[in-house]
């Protein structure tokens, strides 16, 4: 690991000022950054820890929904009753990251700011309509998570901007996340699919579908979502929804699997995820 200057600011303003410098990197949980620095794929001249800034961690009620601080450990999201009950897909996504040891370090803000198309929490945040709050030199702003990513490892965040929290609206009727993987734990997602549905009297009133690791950024399957709105779930509708989701992808082939396999599995797993989200909505 190359040497760097280390800062532990206690305010967001100070962190933002330090992070605006060139070759500066934020330290949240460290599970990506420290490994990257060892591999020298990350060679920051300064590392700014967010760990001493009060108020960046925790799950709190916010209006009819919840606010999740960016520094909240993914293990705390995984075991939170509030998230498990109201935002099940997110708890399931959090539980898919690495091992317990890693989830005790990794933060939701880090998982998202790292901007991996394969992040385990991102499909759920897309399906659950998360709003991302950001602090920077010019004050605060907020973007929907759909508008956060611009490419692999790339976001709309400008120098000095820091994700502070995620706000989720009131819970959907049901949600579910499926990670396609080989190993039970400690694996990266071949693909990740999350669905959240709102239901009234057996009819789907609204649906959101998030897809991970199938395009340069995490994406929503909006055409598939549109097919579900106002309908009751049938096998024929599910088949259409799966095809529409697969059509929304632009996957790559890599050493984990081929693009064709990814596209096929998006079809299969979208059907399965939507079906489970609907089943949960009806409990």
């Amino acid at each position: 690991m190359k040497s760097f200057e280390f800062f532990e600011p206690t305010t967001l303003a100070e962190a933002s000022r330090l992070f605006a410098a060139e070759h500066a990197q934020l330290l949240a949980g460290g599970t990506d950054l420290v490994i990257g620095m060892k591999a020298r794929t990350e060679t920051p001249q300064s590392v700014i820890s967010l760990q001493k800034i009060a108020g960046l961690a925790g799950i709190t009620r916010y209006g009819g929904g919840v606010s999740i601080g960016a520094m909240t450990k993914v293990r705390d999201i995984e075991v939170s009753d509030e998230i498990r009950n109201g935002y099940t897909a997110l708890a399931e996504g959090a539980a898919e990251i690495g091992s317990i040891q890693i989830r005790n370090l990794a933060t939701l803000g880090g998982n998202i700011a790292h901007a991996s198309p394969a992040a385990d929490t991102v499909a759920a945040l897309l399906a659950l309509d998360a709003q991302v709050d950001i602090a920077g030199a010019n004050g605060e702003r907020s973007v929907p998570i759909d508008a956060l990513f611009t490419g692999p490892g790339q976001t709309v965040l400008t120098p000095g901007e820091i994700i502070t929290r995620f706000r989720l609206p009131s819970p959907a009727s049901g949600s579910h996340y499926i990670k396609h993987k080989i190993r039970e734990v400690m694996d990266l997602a071949f693909i990740g699919v999350a669905a959240a549905v709102d239901m009234a009297d057996g009819t789907i009133t609204g649906a959101r579908i998030g897809l991970a690791a199938v395009a340069p950024t995490p994406i929503r399957a909006m055409e598939a979502e549109g097919l579900l709105a106002g309908k009751s779930l049938t096998d024929a509708l599910l088949a259409e929804v799966g095809e529409a989701a697969a059509a929304a992808c632009s996957p790559i082939s890599d050493l984990r699997c081929s693009a064709e396999h990814r596209r096929e599995m998006v079809d299969v797993l979208t059907r399965r995820t939507v079906q489970e989200a609907v089943a949960r909505a009806q409990v």
Binding site: K2, G98, S99, Q101, V185, M186
Partner: protein, 159 residues
């Protein structure tokens, strides 16, 4: 980069240290404090050999910068025995022969200890899943799981 003054609390002992920010907690424990029970396996967070407990949570110490552990309660495998008496999970590994070369053992023991503290009432399948971040490359997990289940029984019986 200059070293930073840091006070680490390891197994109840306080150490006033000067640490380079790029040193991982694992490196500080092993190289600076000589606590070599904690092992360096993959060094990328994948194997769990470097597991220690920080403020009650099991973490892979190869992913933690040592300077960020200041002021926190760190427990390593050296700190599990109380007054010379082994922790139930340590005794169970001996009783069942839950190791072969032994390299992964401290990580397994510390990770298991944290799981037992959190909730000893888990099925073998649940322990197996929760220990997924620890790998043994000698042989397998049968004896390891046997040890953890024995310790779980012991912990529940004395709770």
């Amino acid at each position: 980069m200059a070293k930073l003054p840091v006070t680490l609390t390891v197994n109840g002992d306080e150490y006033d240290l000067l640490i380079e920010p790029r040193k991982t907690l694992l490196a500080v424990l092993r190289d600076t404090l000589g606590l070599t029970g904690t092992k360096e396996g993959c060094s990328t967070g994948d194997c769990g050999a470097c597991t220690v407990i920080v403020d009650g949570r099991a973490v892979t110490s190869c992913m933690v910068l040592g300077v960020t552990a200041a002021g926190k309660a760190i427990t390593t495998v050296e700190g599990l025995a109380v007054d010379g008496e082994l922790h139930p999970v340590q005794q169970a590994f001996i009783d069942t022969g839950g190791y072969q070369c032994g390299f992964c053992t401290p990580g397994f023991i510390v990770a298991s200890k944290a799981l037992l503290d959190e909730n000893p009432n888990r099925t073998e399948e649940e322990f197996r899943h929760a220990l997924g971040g620890n790998i043994c490359r000698c042989t397998g997990y049968t004896k390891i799981l046997e040890a953890v289940m024995q310790a779980a029984e012991e912990v529940q019986a004395t709770a």
